[in-house]
Symmetry: C2
Subunit: 176 residues, 2 copies
């Protein structure tokens, strides 16, 4: 449902055609939202079927696919608020794909595990910097950016501890 909420929330601000919507999501929200192009078109169709948005076809010059302009309806507005309340009210836990590796980390020698996780660590640092850059950039919601910054800092801290404990394992293995 959070994807529908996103689409409705954006259409609520301005009517738009699909491409615009996707551009915006990819450029400004890719750091926090995961909605690929075809998914967005799929959902737009669903939302239109359900009467939450309207599709108007706009003639385009040439043989290019005509673009469709989506606009939220009053029912869509109401649905948006419903989804919004539901979203704010409930906590949905996230799962970290990266945890699966951690769960089986003992399958590798500590030395190798540490090297691999150091690459991961570097990528997390980069991501943090990229997000801190966005801060100025309008279009991205401030609170969400701050959320991701908080989150990434916590992730970095945790990973530092893991790395430290791996270093210790290496040491005691070296002694033995």
């Amino acid at each position: 449902m959070h994807r529908r909420l996103l689409l409705l929330g954006l259409l609520r601000q301005h009517k738009m055609h699909g491409y615009q919507l996707n551009e915006f999501i990819e450029r400004d929200l890719s750091f926090c939202a995961e909605v690929k192009r075809p998914t967005a078109y799929y959902l737009l169709e669903k939302l239109a079927e359900a009467g939450y948005i309207t599709e108007e076809e706009e003639e385009r010059r040439g043989g290019r696919p005509p673009r469709r302009i989506y606009r939220i309806t009053p029912r869509g507005e109401a649905y948006f608020l419903e989804l919004l309340r539901e979203n704010l009210r409930t906590y949905r836990r996230v799962t970290f794909p990266g945890d699966m590796g951690i769960a089986f980390i003992d399958a590798l020698p500590p030395h190798e595990a540490r090297e691999l996780l150091e690459e991961r660590y570097a990528q997390m640092r980069e991501m943090l910097e990229r997000i801190q850059q966005i801060s100025g950039h309008a279009g991205a919601p401030r609170l969400v950016i701050e959320h991701h910054i908080t989150h990434l800092k916590a992730e970095l801290n945790w990973l530092e501890e893991v790395l430290a404990s791996l270093a210790q394992e290496e040491e005691s293995a070296g002694e033995a």
Copy 2:
């Protein structure tokens, strides 16, 4: 791929039939892994097709569906290590469904938003406690539990700030 890694990782420890696997995932790993029953069966089939695991049918008394025992193969072992290295090496950003609500929080009066988020906050606290309980419980990987604890604490902190800023908005709105 992280789901395949999980299945292979578990089968690497013991051969198992699908039901057992699913039981374990639901009971001990649901806090960190999201793999529903049918998904697991689907992936087991795929892994078997690819030769990473073998399926042996075991006759069951009565008319119950026969259970199939899955066992990892040497190729599966190699594939597991490949997936494990890849998983440890790369950072995959997570997206928070709950951010979509935050992004549009201004659509609600601060007062209502705060009330809703307070419910969310309570659920997060509960989740934290539940995870802290697991700590003793064997079967769940320690590092992953600690990861989630770190994460949840950071989430709680962040949400407290959001709540505080909403309270402030309410106040200044009250004055006006």
